[in-house]
């Protein structure tokens, strides 16, 4: 299963390396470990 949704890069972002940190909200019934996913902004 994949969970997904739109992530928008703001107009003022500088191209290059960035991170998307994914986690569950504190209100979730599940525990999560924030996971840093390396991405490239073009």
């Amino acid at each position: 299963m994949l969970v997904h949704g739109p992530v928008r890069v703001p107009d003022n972002a500088r191209p290059g390396d960035a991170i998307v940190r994914v986690e569950l909200p504190t209100t979730s019934k599940f525990k999560s470990r924030p996971t840093d996913i390396p991405v490239t902004i073009e």
């Binding site: 299963m1 994949l2 969970v3 997904h4 949704g5 739109p6 992530v7 928008r8 890069v9 703001p10 107009d11 003022n12 972002a13 500088r14 191209p15 290059g16 960035a18 991170i19 998307v20 940190r21 994914v22 986690e23 569950l24 909200p25 979730s28 019934k29 599940f30 525990k31 999560s32 470990r33 996971t35 996913i37 390396p38 991405v39 490239t40 902004i41 073009e42």
Partner: protein
């Protein structure tokens, strides 16, 4: 918030964090095998890691080793599963012959009792192809857990050539959930990307992620994705998005 209440909340949060298992140090996981059968071909090594329960200490290991039924066979069509986790491979009930499928082999193992416990995971199936090794099972007979996945199909893991190079998987949901992206590591300035993530547990390599199916996170649950980037002035900025969709 009154000081006493805020203190109690902080203490509860600290205790909760203290009880969370730390990330697995895969390099430190012992790779010893007590006894191995006489293999026909060059064996390929994988391992399941389970969380300890009750009085158990350390992560519970279960070796998975692929072999061939004959030296000239194309497919790895024999699977050894160290079902009792004692490191003695090839005991009665631990050798399985796969069914040929699309040039690969499919092993229907069935129930897996978590070593040292009475916890039973059901419908365990492992599939070998030249490109990768995949597995699935019903965690505690309820929710599907499967792997190994990576950010692109060509990154899906195979088993290793030696115990030291074994691919380690963490099936199930005993640990805090982790995430891996699926084909969306390139983002464009000023544009939206449909950011997709697997939900589950990291393995020892990028293509060894284990995840759940659509029943893992029920309706109403969602993930938060925070983009941490550098702006035109060189300052770190953050923008938050919510991932509500399923596929």
């Amino acid at each position: 918030m009154p000081m006493l209440l805020s203190t109690l909340v902080a203490v509860q949060a600290a205790l909760s964090a203290a009880h969370e298992p730390p990330p697995i140090d895969f390099a430190a996981v012992p790779r010893t095998i007590v006894t191995q059968p006489k293999y026909v071909a060059a064996p390929r090594y994988g391992m399941f890691l389970f969380e300890p329960r009750g009085e158990q200490r350390g992560t519970q290991r279960m070796w998975l080793v692929l072999d061939k039924s004959s030296a000239d066979a194309e497919a790895y069509d024999v699977l050894y599963v160290d079902r009792d986790g004692d490191g003695v491979l090839g005991e009665e009930g631990e050798r399985f012959v796969g069914v040929a499928k699309d040039g690969g082999a499919r092993f229907e193992v069935g129930d897996l009792t978590q070593p040292g416990t009475e916890v039973v995971h059901t419908e365990f199936v492992l599939t070998w192809t030249k490109a990768s090794v995949r597995y699935q099972m019903l965690w505690q007979g309820k929710t599907k857990t499967m792997g190994g996945f990576g950010p692109y199909r060509e990154t899906y893991a195979s088993f290793g050539d030696s115990p030291a190079e074994a691919t380690l998987y963490v099936p199930g949901y005993d640990r805090p959930l982790e995430f891996e992206h699926w084909m969306c590591d390139k983002l464009r300035v000023g544009a939206s990307t449909d950011f997709k993530v697997f939900v589950g547990a990291k393995g020892s390599s990028r293509g060894a992620f284990s995840c759940g199916n659509e029943k893992l996170l029920p309706e109403g649950e969602h993930a938060i994705a925070t983009l941490i980037y550098t702006d035109e002035d060189g300052k770190e900025q953050r923008v938050r998005a919510e991932l509500h969709e399923r596929c």
